[in-house]
């Protein structure tokens, strides 16, 4: 929670709150979700259906917010080619398509349809976000993006999505190890910490050499 507050505070301090509004929105929503989950957990307990609803609905909301954050970075990267508007249109279509697909998957189970839909949408949209981040990184390299902040924010997203996917896979492969359960919450702090460091370390005008970004130079 501290990491989220730190990011929003750094964004305000560096006058970048509106510039990175959707990133801030995601972090603020995740703070609110944490508070709500804590509240429900304290009053209803871990095994209650109230906690399950609160957990899955907030998770779905956060995944949508993260998807929007990825799109906001994509439209920044493509803005110089005047493709920002097209990126947003594609994003809306992707979101609607994913929602439609998720609905089609859960439509058969009339029992707890809304909760199942929230869970399915969250999972599918997370996967779409992951693929989009990889594509966005490809675009950053191809378009030779030089803005340090944008580059590091996209890289942070890539690190986060890769680590999260890895932690899910590890949880499936080795469920008996306790440390695996803590990976998710630890990774949750990564994005706001990494984004705040980027905001504090670099100014909006800071630029870097695009050739230095490729992991293995060609």
């Amino acid at each position: 929670m501290g990491a989220g507050v730190c990011f929003v505070a750094s964004a305000i301090r560096r006058s970048s709150f509106l510039k990175y509004f959707f990133l801030n929105l995601y972090v603020i929503l995740s703070l609110c979700a944490d508070l709500l989950r804590q509240f429900v957990l304290r009053f209803y307990g871990l095994d209650s259906s109230e906690y399950s609803y609160a957990y899955y609905y907030t998770d779905c909301l956060l995944t949508v917010a993260l998807f929007v954050a990825v799109i906001s970075l994509a439209s920044r990267v493509f803005a110089e080619l005047n493709l920002g508007k097209h990126v947003r249109t594609v994003a809306v279509l992707l979101l609607l398509g994913t929602a439609g697909f998720s609905y089609a998957v859960v439509a058969q189970s009339a029992h707890r349809l809304v909760t199942m839909f929230a869970f399915e949408l969250s999972q599918n949209l997370y996967f779409v976000g992951l693929v989009l981040t990889y594509l966005l990184w490809g675009a950053v390299l191809k378009l030779q993006e030089t803005r340090t902040r944008v580059v590091q924010m996209v890289l942070s997203l890539g690190l986060y999505f890769s680590a999260y996917a890895g932690s899910f896979a590890l949880a499936n492969l080795a469920p008996k190890y306790v440390f695996v359960q803590y990976l998710g919450p630890i990774l949750g702090c990564f994005l706001p910490i990494s984004w705040s460091l980027t905001l504090l370390r670099h100014s909006e005008d800071s630029r870097l050499t695009p050739a230095r970004l490729v992991a293995v130079p060609r």
């Binding site: 890289l155 690190l159 890769s162 680590a163 890895g166 896979a169 370390r201 050499t209 490729v214």
Partner: protein, 133 residues
């Protein structure tokens, strides 16, 4: 089987993003040249080499800390250790990796040297303030 594939793929992409992130950090210091003070204390002649990193880090620890440099230096230190590991293990099988790893370590040393320059400047400033008092 599927989980193992996802784990392998995500570890690979994690590594790729980690290297790129560290390169973006070291790249941000490339525009700044190493100051004369740093050249004097570290013995770096024209440009920093990978082997200079350890010496620069030792001197860095003697200077007053700048909190804004701390996280970047920690990440670059992790990257440097990773490169050493790569050089000692992977490079024995694929020798072509060695020049690349050395170039990267030189970037780490340059990053640390630039941070050292900032710390020396801060040290000078503090000394000047004390003299004024």
């Amino acid at each position: 089987m599927m989980a193992a594939f996802i784990l392998a793929f995500s570890l690979l992409t994690l590594l790729m993003f980690f290297v790129s992130y560290c390169r973006s950090l070291t790249a941000s210091s490339l525009h700044t040249s190493i100051t004369e003070d740093v050249r004097d204390v570290t013995g770096i002649q024209v440009r920093a080499a990978g082997r200079d990193y350890a010496r620069v880090m030792q001197i860095l620890q003697l200077c007053p800390d700048r909190p804004e440099d701390r996280s970047g230096l920690q990440i670059v230190a992790a990257y440097y250790s990773f490169l050493n590991l790569l050089d000692q293990g992977f490079a024995k099988i694929f020798p072509a990796v060695r020049p690349w790893a050395e170039e990267e370590r030189a970037g780490c040393a340059h990053f640390a040297a630039v941070a050292l320059g900032r710390r020396i400047a801060l040290n000078r400033e503090m000394l000047a303030q004390q003299v004024e008092l």
